[in-house]
Symmetry: C2
C-alpha cells in the first residue's frame, strides 16, 4: 500500500488546512472532529492533551484516519490512514504555539492546559485521495 502523498494532493498536507481526525471509541463507535496538524514529510503531528476523549480512544485503539479537503475545491481530498506511533510530551505548549502561528495567529500564546499537552505522532500506513 502506498504511503506516498501524490504530488497533486501535496498542497492539502502542506497548507494550513483544517483536517478531520477520526478515532474509535472504547465502545467501538466512531469519533471525528477538526484538528490543526503539521506534516513533517513522513508523519502527521497533532497537538492534543492527555485529558481528552480522543487521547483515551487512542490508548485503547491506536487507529487514526485523517481526511483533508481543499476549502476552495472540496472535491479534491486526501485520506490518510495510520496509527498513533508516538506521544511526545509538550509541557510548555511549544508545539501548540507553533501550530497556532502556522494557522495564522502571529501572537499565539501557550494554552492554559500546556502542562497536559502532547504531540500525537501519526504514522501513515495508507494514502487515499483524488
Amino acid at each position: 500500500m502506498s504511503t506516498e502523498i501524490p504530488a497533486h494532493l501535496e498542497h492539502l498536507v502542506t497548507n494550513p488546512n483544517f483536517g478531520s481526525l477520526a478515532t474509535v471509541r472504547p465502545d467501538g463507535t466512531a469519533q471525528v472532529n477538526p484538528m490543526w496538524f503539521e506534516f513533517d514529510g513522513t508523519n502527521v503531528l497533532f497537538t492534543h492533551t492527555t485529558k481528552r476523549a480522543k487521547f483515551r480512544n487512542l490508548q485503547h485503539n491506536p487507529s487514526m484516519a485523517f481526511s483533508i479537503f481543499d476549502p476552495e475545491d472540496p472535491e479534491s481530498y486526501i485520506e490518510l490512514r495510520g496509527v498513533l506511533d508516538e506521544v511526545r510530551p509538550d509541557p510548555t505548549g511549544a508545539f501548540y504555539v507553533h501550530l497556532g502561528k502556522r494557522y495564522g495567529n502571529a501572537t499565539q500564546e501557550a494554552p492554559p492546559d500546556s502542562a497536559d499537552r502532547v504531540i500525537l505522532v501519526m504514522r501513515i500506513s495508507k494514502v487515499i485521495g483524488r
Copy 2:
C-alpha cells in the same frame, strides 16, 4: 444526551458545507472522508452506493460520526454521533442530483452508478460542538 442542534451551529448543518463522515472498518480501524449531506430537521442524509467500503463498514458496525466546520471560521464546528438507521434505495440517483444542485451544480445529472445508489439515513444520538 442532547440531540438538538444548538442555534449558533445550525448554519453548519443547513448550509451546503462538506462534512467528514467517519465509520469503523470491519478490522476495527477508523475511516473518514468528506461527504455531501442534507439535514432534514431530524436525520442526516447522505448519497452513497452499496458497492463501497463505507457501506460495507456500516453493515458491520452501524456507528457514524459526522463533523462539519465552517470554512470561513473553522474553529466553529459540530460533531454529530449516531447510527445508520435506514438505507433507502435511490435507483435513479434522484437524491444524488438533489444534493449536487444543493452544492451548486445547477445542471447536476444522475451519476453512472445510479443503479447502486442509496440514501444513508443517520439517526443522531449525540451532538457536540462549539
